[in-house]
């Protein structure tokens, strides 16, 4: 895989050659030279060494590789790194700060929303996209939003509880947002 990838310094040059990829990854500008066939999941994992994004099925089914692309959930095993050029990508590493867990992460911890943890990063990012749009989701809304993410351990119940827990916590922290949302 390393032969498909070489990290290079970000550039101010507008006239970026096509195989150069520059993304805002968890808020930070990162650039690389890649072969066009490199998948976004591999750029993130092998290239930028952020291994929180998992690849489970590699066939667009399981959602373990879910990242936020301009704020919306996508499966990074089914995107080329070059398609992400100029866009924002958020991975699970972008959720917590150095000192604090994101409420969604707290929810998964408090409500036992994970067992092996393999599906968890993808679940949390799909949940984040939901809560960004809809701070007041019903249980059905949560299940629908997570329907592209498979879990082989938990039976889903506690994942749904974890997301509802996080929704409440986020509403308590920012009551104004509860009316906000863009649903």
């Amino acid at each position: 895989m390393t032969s498909l990838f070489e990290e290079v310094a970000p550039s101010e040059d507008d006239n970026i050659p096509v195989r150069r990829v520059e993304v805002r990854l968890n808020g930070e500008r990162r650039a690389a030279k890649v072969e066009p066939r490199l998948l976004l999941a591999h750029l993130i994992r092998q290239g930028f060494q952020l291994t929180g994004t998992h690849t489970g099925c590699d066939t667009t089914n399981c959602g373990a590789c879910t990242v936020l692309f301009d704020g919306e959930p996508v499966k990074s095993c089914t995107m080329l790194a070059v398609q992400a050029h100029g866009h924002e990508v958020t991975t699970v590493e972008g959720l917590a700060t150095a000192s604090e867990l994101h409420p969604i992460q707290e929810g998964f911890k408090d409500e036992h929303g994970l067992q092996c943890g393999f599906c968890t990063p993808g679940m949390m990012l799909a949940a984040k996209a939901l809560l960004d749009h809809n701070p007041n989701p019903t249980e059905d809304d949560v299940r629908w939003a997570l329907s592209g993410n498979l879990c082989r351990c938990t039976g889903y119940q506690n994942i749904v509880k974890a997301v509802l827990w996080a929704a409440e916590k986020l509403r308590d922290a920012d009551p104004g947002a509860a009316e906000g949302g863009d649903e």
Partner: protein
């Protein structure tokens, strides 16, 4: 799984996309959302030598009220079709069916144009567009032309689009209050349809099309003419599988698919008639 090597170019406009395909020839392929093409390339069932990325041609991403029809840009993502107020009002069958395509992640990447151009008989949207009598607009080096949905799919994954033509717009006639039903039968939520049926009814008129009942999406013409002749929904739906040629697979035999076509047509028409 990693695709075979290919070259990659980006088009910023419709014209540039067409110029690029002219330059790179028939070994090149457009990539829109990539949610049909990339899975095939990862399995190396498709090995284009050049990918022309049309994902940034944002002027082809729109939903517009155009009088008697709704005009949808080919690059409009499923998520934007499903949530479009114009479509919810004037073509609710399409908005609803689109909300059942794959899962949320798929709907954030996949485009309506990619779905139509790919001409997969297992896809939901080609059948919906066929039932509604949609028209497609294609643009090539010699200008634009219209293709009726009924003339579009020619065989499995093959369409009337020329290699150097870009699908630019999908025109969906307004449903004008028609009743409608969309029945998608699958084993797990968010899966592809084993069989699907899109149907609408308004006064004496009706349209019914089937997903995954042959090498192309299929118009259930027998059902529609029986309804026009005054047959009951139950009797008309019995004709849904006539003349179809579905393939057997792990999910369903030919007989089971034909049974599903009849049962789902009845359900969809019952809902459309209520």
């Amino acid at each position: 799984m990693i695709p075979a090597p290919f070259d990659y170019v980006r088009a910023e406009s419709t014209e540039e996309a067409i110029a690029l395909v002219g330059q790179h020839g028939d070994e090149s392929k457009f990539i829109a959302g990539g949610h049909s093409l990339l899975p095939l390339m990862k399995l190396r069932l498709a090995q284009p030598s050049v990918l022309i990325d049309i994902g940034r041609v944002t002027d082809l991403s729109y939903v517009r009220d155009a009088g008697d029809h709704v005009a949808i840009g080919a690059l409009t993502r499923h998520m934007d079709v499903e949530t479009s107020e114009v479509l919810r009002e004037h073509a609710p069958l399409l908005a609803h069916a689109t909300s059942h395509v794959g899962d949320p992640q798929v709907r954030h990447r996949g485009t309506i144009g990619g779905s139509i151009a790919h001409a997969d008989p297992a896809s939901d949207l080609p059948a919906v567009a066929l039932a509604l009598g949609a028209t497609y607009v294609a643009q090539g080096p010699n200008g634009t032309r219209e293709i009726a949905a009924a003339d579009f799919a020619t065989s499995y994954l093959e369409s009337a689009l020329a290699d150097d033509e870009l699908l630019t717009e999908i025109r969906v006639p307004k449903m004008n209050g028609a009743g409608w039903g969309f029945e998608k039968f699958n084993r797990r939520a968010q899966d592809w349809a084993i069989v699907g049926v899109a149907a609408w009814r308004r006064n004496g008129d009706a349209g019914v099309a089937l997903v995954n009942m042959g090498s192309t999406p299929v118009l259930a013409t027998g059902v529609v003419s029986a309804l026009a002749d005054g047959a009951s929904v139950a009797d008309a739906a019995q004709l849904a599988a006539d003349g179809t040629d579905p393939q057997p697979d792990l999910n369903a035999s030919i007989e089971y698919r034909q049974h599903l076509a009849r049962a789902l047509t009845k359900r969809a028409l019952d809902i459309a008639s209520s």
